[in-house]
Symmetry: C2
Subunit: 369 residues, 2 copies
Amino acid sequence: MTDKILSISRRTRSTPFTRRVEAAGVKGYTVYNHMLLPTFFDSKEADYWSLCNDVQVWDVSCERQIEVFGPDSERLIQLMTPRDISRAVVGQGLYAPLCDENGGLVNDPVLIKFADYDWWISIADSDVRLWARGLAHGLGLDVTIREAAIWPLAVQGPKAEQLVTRVFGDEVPGIRFFRSKMLEFQGKAMMVMRSGYSKQGGFEIYLNDPDLAEPLWDELFDRGQDLNVRAGGPNLIERIESGLLSYGNDMTYQHNPFECGLDAFIDLDADIESMSLPALRQIRGKHENQLVGLVFDEAVNFVEFAVSADGRKVGDVRSQVWSPRYQRYLAMAMMRRDYLREHKSVKVDGKIGNIVDLPFDFDAILKEG
Amino acid sequence: MTDKILSISRRTRSTPFTRRVEAAGVKGYTVYNHMLLPTFFDSKEADYWSLCNDVQVWDVSCERQIEVFGPDSERLIQLMTPRDISRAVVGQGLYAPLCDENGGLVNDPVLIKFADYDWWISIADSDVRLWARGLAHGLGLDVTIREAAIWPLAVQGPKAEQLVTRVFGDEVPGIRFFRSKMLEFQGKAMMVMRSGYSKQGGFEIYLNDPDLAEPLWDELFDRGQDLNVRAGGPNLIERIESGLLSYGNDMTYQHNPFECGLDAFIDLDADIESMSLPALRQIRGKHENQLVGLVFDEAVNFVEFAVSADGRKVGDVRSQVWSPRYQRYLAMAMMRRDYLREHKSVKVDGKIGNIVDLPFDFDAILKEG
């Protein structure tokens, strides 16, 4: 496909940062939760090196926060996820699959216990608000569910801590991964969490006042000049190298969390009331597919995303990219487990690719030659 | 904003028609229900004249069909909409707002009674599947809810009936508006309905076999050569001139159907079990805003979409376009009713615009001068 223009309208919502994103020279967007998400500024590869070497500011307002508060809030959140949330503390984030009564993936948000009886679901790309409201209405739960007036801004990269500390102060380095503090910017307290959709380290600032969007953006760029701060966004190369999954790409509502390797986030034996657990207990070990990595020495053309063997379709490529660092073509593919049991490689486009576990282990991959 | 590239991935789903759409030279897409929707091929204006003069084929696969079947299907559909669906006949489509327990708009689909106890919700851009599943689970309803393997293809324009008749046969002209017939293409029966997102007339073909997508597309183009058939998509100019609303643009979940002028699709006094009716009965007449048309003699620059008067924000522009036919700049705006009661015009960007009811009445508008 050649490049196509994105037709932008009110439906593809802008954010309080969009004017600054445009001024920074954004070249590509995607639409995520009905909102603009910048995908690259210079080029995906140049952006990649900037992210890995320095620090970037990302407008991830599209990580909408679905706020669930009220007496039954914790009960509803627990119903929606098979991960045990009972030991979460205020200010903590938990990566957690949301699954329906069949075990199908509805979303893979970070759940944030913002306060007692006040949870934020920091969502990937599906309308979790509608699901939650349907459940709450049907079950007669005493909760309020709304899309909160919050616009996350991510600061990512090895110099992110330095930059965020300059803007939010000395409490920043003490924040542990997936923990947060309420810190002030221009007199307004907002949540700052150590998190973000890269493995380069960094923070997400949960902006709660749109009038502070441009001042915050400007201050990060002013204070970060010597750190080579740049505008960026979730980077396709970095996120695939790091094995970060993307809902809608690597997994959909037609997949279950075992197929996606999310076993560690499911508390199958917990004594919790979660609507997906009965189904997940049945499915476990019997699922047909598994998300794996494929590694090729050169770029590969997947026809209609298919991976075939002996005239049979054995898998489906979900994400793919050339890694400039490792000089390999990387793919994430949903492959049939019966094929995986007997094969360590696939042949696509005339080229042999090794099948590996996710996340990619590049030490081992490079040793293979 | 200058043009931006749309970053396309598996998450922004392609359709069985995408290869043909690309071959036809699509230049712009939007993302709608997590799927690619072509927005223009030549230019929005050239596409507009082709649509109004001849016939176009649109890949509207993104109109996903949420199928609800089983004993409680009709009960669930009725709960979701304040429009009385009890008299619908098999094969009929009903434009119907979906509203939550607060009266907020969840979507504005066409509901199709495909068979007894088998409804299709032909959705606008929100995940109605999740809401329906949440409600069904919470209420313990006996229904199955799924995104059906259906990819609608629209044929629109004054020559659409001619073209669809050539491909689907002589039963086509007898199909009334929002009625359908099961008609065969290459031996496979599929639903053909007189409908579509333009006022130029036409049909939607509910393709139910992806392997027939390209043969169907090709046949429409082969048989339509002398009719000047072109590839197209929902056209911004035509739909605004025609006063067709767009969910996410002209109305959102923060609006209620009265604000959007959808009163005719709400059966306030019907003896039906609809979750929004109690709230809607309370809201009616007391809503603060009203969607209206604004008509300017020349193009207007709305700063941050605002309509202001005497330093106060009195409205919010939702859609806007230059009409090449009427030589007017047209906008749909959500305006405060207290302002509307006392004013017939607004001043934006130094230009006076007349406030008119929707849909636009161009005879009256042109008479005004």
